[in-house]
């Protein structure tokens, strides 16, 4: 018993370790997290897969054994005890019981009435009438003892069920050496036989991901640093995967429409829909919906050359890598998952406009706000679907990668529309977004036209001329001032074309004394803004289009263009891939299990509940009524608490014996 309890404690501690150390991760991650030294210690003692470590299984086995032994030791005696009425109990032993009462005379009790009383009270009894002694031995609640047997047998049964579904046989075969986990990342068909498991395997739990339209006939069982390939007795075809959403953008339903095919002739054995909480069972193998994702969708982009100004079309597939040459240098483009919906929580409507000056009123407002919103159970979050997005990495020859996140749909803000082009140079950083302003037709063309003109030095004299013309339209200044103005404008354009606002700042820093910088920067910005208007005119003219009327919106557009153009200097890529269109192919992840132990486990569970119920809520009670030797003796034994037994005894005594107490 003490040993069993210490083992239980070890199980508990091991389980705690198992929850604190994330189990079943990639081994490489563990190595990074803990360093080689600790990894070298943790790994052999199985801390990364506690629940399948040999020592953990051994302890469980031992607990099972000791519980079985306990049952074996106690069961025969208990069964005997449960069945026995103890109708041979002697007078002396009955008088030794804490609850007994004896009266003189053998006829003071109506034997028939006594039996009726006991019957009503729920007892069963046996009468031993021998040698002039009439002994009625009654009992109830004997099932309490059964409870012990049930609960403990249940533990054993559950452990057996668990072992049936566990990977013990596979582990043994690994030890013997005829099976070995595959650790290489190779196509499934190339996995050698010692890492494959046949369809005869009695129990497994494995995963497989299928794109829409694809067929699979194996699942993968992960095992330490590698995996096994488990052949299925059938093949699985994903016809369609569907996600339904609530109006809040939360997913409501994941459903895969699948066909189960005969492996040999490809005939459909069964068709159905697999959903979370609604598995499909075929041949004793249950198919569960476990994950979903992008199955490799066709993507179309417009590649805007940020250096030279050209544009071209690019076709790609999500979740794939392709080579590309930019500026004469080779790069790889690594596409991630296509995400069709991106619902973002934009915070509470109206939040953020709390006045910031006086903190005390803010605090009060906040409490009031909180109280007011605590009134309503309906969410008032401001959700916005940002539309489809694609994330990709552009990796140069040296292996350096920058990550990009592009949205397909226009983004509305401050009365204008933009394309969001996200970039980050460090995986742990947040994406920084460049807002590419869109024209009235929600296209990026006008911006790109402007940009190309502004970055081509050949256009600067013309732009500067126009800007100067406007600035001096009302005359009044000398032509030398005008020439100065024009060359300054050209210089500003030049600097901007070299590196955006940052470059202009640097330029000012190197030329202007510190105390004048702010004023100069103001002037330069004003000139740049004016020049941008003229640059747009030039761009329109070159494209054979009418000039943009200078409305507030268009002015806003031009200023946004300046910001975007400047932003692209930090973009780290020679192209901007404008996400134009896609054809979605989804994929669905299934978990397939064969677990013959499951019914055993649930049988054990039922036993356990019955057992615990009996142990705690049934109370064994025995009553003896002995008439002989000139006395009538009533005794009560039971394992309720003394106080309760007192009451019970008082009731029995009242009912069975004459009122006047004697003896004791």
């Amino acid at each position: 018993m003490r040993f069993a309890v210490s083992l239980l404690a070890i199980v508990a501690i091991a389980s705690i370790i198992g929850t604190v150390l994330k189990q079943g991760q990639q081994f490489i991650d563990y190595r990074i997290e803990f360093g080689d030294f600790w990894f070298g210690i943790f790994d052999p003692i199985g801390l990364f897969d506690v629940y399948h470590a040999s020592w953990f299984l051994a302890i469980l086995g031992f607990l099972m054994l000791s519980t079985s032994l306990c049952i074996y030791r106690h069961a025969p005696g208990m069964v005997k005890d449960i069945r026995s009425y103890r109708e041979h109990a002697g007078r002396n032993s009955l008088r030794l019981m804490a609850h007994h009462a004896e009266v003189e005379g053998e006829t003071v009790v109506d034997r028939q009435a006594a039996q009726e009383y006991l019957k009503r009270a729920g007892y069963r009894w046996r009468i031993n009438d021998a040698n002039g002694v009439w002994l009625l031995a009654a009992k109830k609640g004997s099932a309490q003892r059964l409870g012990y047997l049930f609960a403990h047998a249940a533990i054993v049964v559950i452990c057996i069920g668990g072992l049936m579904d566990g990977n013990l046989p596979l582990k043994l075969r690994e030890v013997v050496g005829n099976k070995k986990a595959e650790t290489r990342d190779i196509p499934q068909s190339k996995v050698p036989p010692e890492s494959r498991l046949g369809t005869g395997n009695l129990s497994f739990r494995g995963n497989v991901t299928l794109p829409e339209g694809a067929v699979g006939d194996v699942v993968f069982l992960s095992e330490g640093e590698g995996y096994f390939v488990q052949d299925l007795p059938f093949a699985l075809r994903l016809k369609q995967f569907q996600v339904d959403y609530y109006s809040t953008g939360m997913p409501k339903r994941f459903a895969s429409t699948i066909d189960v095919l005969d492996r040999k002739d490809g005939k459909i054995i069964k068709s159905g829909v697999v959903e979370v909480n609604k598995p499909l069972v075929v041949d004793g193998i249950a198919i569960y919906q476990s994950s979903f994702g992008d199955g490799g969708s066709a993507l179309q982009f417009t590649a805007w050359d940020l250096g030279g100004g050209g544009e071209s079309k690019l076709n790609a597939t999500s979740k794939s890598t392709q080579n590309i040459t930019l500026d004469g240098k080779p790069y790889t483009l690594e596409f991630g998952d296509l995400r069709v919906t991106n619902v973002e929580n934009m915070g509470k409507p109206g939040s953020g406009d709390v006045p910031s000056g006086d903190t005390s009123t803010v605090a009060v407002n906040k409490v009031e706000q909180a109280l007011a919103s605590a009134q309503s159970v309906k969410s008032s979050r401001n959700l916005r679907n940002m539309g489809p997005s694609i994330q990709y990495k552009l990796r140069d020859q040296a292996g350096q990668a920058v990550e990009y996140l592009n949205y397909l749909s226009p983004f509305y803000a401050d009365g204008a529309t933009y394309l969001l082009a996200g970039v980050r140079k460090d995986i742990t950083a947040q994406f920084q977004f460049i807002r590419v302003p869109l024209d009235s037709e929600n296209k990026s063309d006008a911006y790109m036209r402007l940009r190309n003109v502004m970055l081509d030095p050949a256009n600067y004299p013309e732009i500067a001329r126009r800007t100067a013309n406007k600035a001096f339209a009302d005359g009044g200044f000398s032509s030398t001032r005008r020439d100065d103005f024009q060359s300054v404008t050209q210089a500003i354009l030049q600097q901007f074309g070299h590196g955006g606002f940052t470059q202009i700042d640097k330029f000012i820093e190197s030329k202007v004394p510190a105390d004048k910088r702010a004023a100069v920067a103001q002037t330069y910005l004003k000139i740049l803004q004016n020049a941008t208007v003229d640059a747009m005119d030039v761009a329109q003219q070159k494209a054979g289009l009418p000039p943009l009327p200078m409305t507030a919106e268009n002015y806003h557009f031009l200023m946004d263009s300046l910001v975007a153009t400047s932003g692209f200097y930090e973009y780290g890529s020679p192209v901007f891939l404008q996400f134009d269109a896609f054809t979605e192919v989804k994929s669905s992840g299934f978990q397939l299990t064969r677990s013959p132990g499951e019914p055993v486990i649930f049988f054990g569970s039922i036993l356990l509940v019955i057992g615990i119920f009996c142990m705690f809520y049934l109370r064994e009670e025995r009553v003896w009524l002995r008439i002989g030797d000139g006395h009538t003796l009533l005794s009560l034994a039971g394992n309720r608490r003394p106080a309760e037994l007192d009451t019970t005894f008082a009731a029995h005594r009242n009912a069975l014996l004459p009122a006047i107490p004697q003896g004791e």
Partner: protein, 373 residues
């Protein structure tokens, strides 16, 4: 169990039973068309269970109908329009689920204070009032849950679900269950001063509810993610909370017992033995229901994730909690231990339970994604 034989029943018992059957019939006539077989089964099971409950504990014969009537009044006041919660007087100040929750919170805090006052002053009157406030708070909690259930359907037919699906809702359930268990033992052992301790843990839960609601807006009703759309949830979660409630109750009695053993408040609290007795009873109830809940959880996991046991942190911690109390019961039953060790153990047990209940959601990730803080 012998209390259940028919010939010893009070006439009111039959009135109550008929009332429950009528209520179930009403629910069925109204919503039967939307129920599948499981749900019809659950309805029948719940009706039987409630009748049993009312017979087992006579106070339930008024408590359950009262909550039902309040909830019906609230639904009538709503008249299919959720926004009436902000205007209709009855809803805004009393019966909308959030208003009822706020009343519940206030009443629990007041009840705690009154219990302490009553215990320290040995005032039976004060203790009686405290007990009454706890009853009222429990009534508010049950009403809030029922009304919230209805409100969820007003938000959207596809959003509606039983309010046991997130941490906020189950905390209300926790308060309700712990209070009811406590009130049962209070009446049975005629030991009202225990409330001073038990209500402390409920007040802590109330603190959490307030913070969670005011700071995190957790009271907003969210639709169910696919993993939670299972009828197992309807029974798994409540069974779990009977367990958690009972273990918390036991731990607080453990604290009281430890104080009594040091002669602190010894003359004001029930005897050392009574406290130990109630603690044992609570743990047996908790253990039974926790076992059932864990098994139901396994059955659910088998449906949702493809395996009845995945050694997910929440599952593992449930096992640890279970082993802890199995060991507790062993040393008491097999070794015959009594006294302070068991009291300390029950207190530590609450820490373990609390970690399994909240800590896992906060610190460990896993398949049990719901209810993250």
């Amino acid at each position: 169990m012998s209390t259940l034989s028919l010939n010893r029943r009070h006439p009111l018992d039959f009135v109550f039973a008929v009332l429950m059957v009528l209520a179930a019939g009403f629910a069925f006539s109204r919503y039967g068309a939307h129920m599948d077989y499981y749900e019809q089964g659950i309805l029948a099971g719940v009706t039987t269970g409630l009748i049993w409950f009312g017979w087992f504990w006579p106070a339930m014969r008024w408590f359950l109908p009262a909550a039902g009537v309040l909830a019906l009044i609230a639904t009538a006041a709503y008249g299919n329009d959720l926004s009436r919660a902000q205007h209709a007087f009855l809803l805004k100040y009393l019966l909308a689920s959030q208003s009822a929750v706020m009343w519940m919170c206030v009443l629990y805090v007041m009840s705690t204070i009154t219990y302490w006052f009553g215990m320290l002053r040995r005032s039976e009157t004060a203790l009686g009032i405290a007990s009454g406030m706890s009853w009222t708070a429990a009534l508010a909690a049950l009403t809030a849950l029922l009304v919230r259930w209805y409100e969820s359907y007003l938000i959207g037919a596809d959003v509606g679900h039983i309010p046991v699906s997130n941490l906020y809702e189950v905390f209300i359930l926790f308060c309700l269950i712990t209070t009811l268990m406590y009130l049962y033992y209070e009446a049975r052992f005629k030991a009202r001063s225990m409330g001073a301790f038990v209500l402390l843990v409920i007040s802590a839960a109330v603190g959490f509810i307030l913070w969670y609601s005011l700071d995190r807006q957790a009271h907003e009703i969210q639709p169910l993610i696919p993993a939670l759309q299972s009828w197992w949830m309807k029974i798994h979660v409540p069974a779990n909370f009977i367990g958690y409630g009972a273990f918390s109750l036991a731990a607080m009695l453990g604290v009281a017992q430890l104080l009594v053993s040091r002669n602190v408040l010894a003359t004001r609290l029930p005897t050392y033995e009574t406290l130990g007795d109630v603690m044992y009873k609570a743990i047996t109830v908790g253990f039974l229901f926790f076992t059932i809940a864990t098994i139901l959880g396994a059955a659910w996991a088998a449906d949702a994730w493809g395996g009845y046991w995945s050694w997910d942190p929440k599952e593992t911690w449930a096992l640890i909690v279970w082993l802890n109390y199995a060991a507790w019961l062993h040393v008491r039953l097999v070794k015959g231990w009594r006294g302070n060790v068991l009291a300390w153990w029950a207190v530590v047990g609450l820490l373990v339970t609390t970690f399994a209940f909240i800590g896992v959601n906060m610190f460990l990730s896993g398949l049990h994604s719901y209810g993250g803080l």
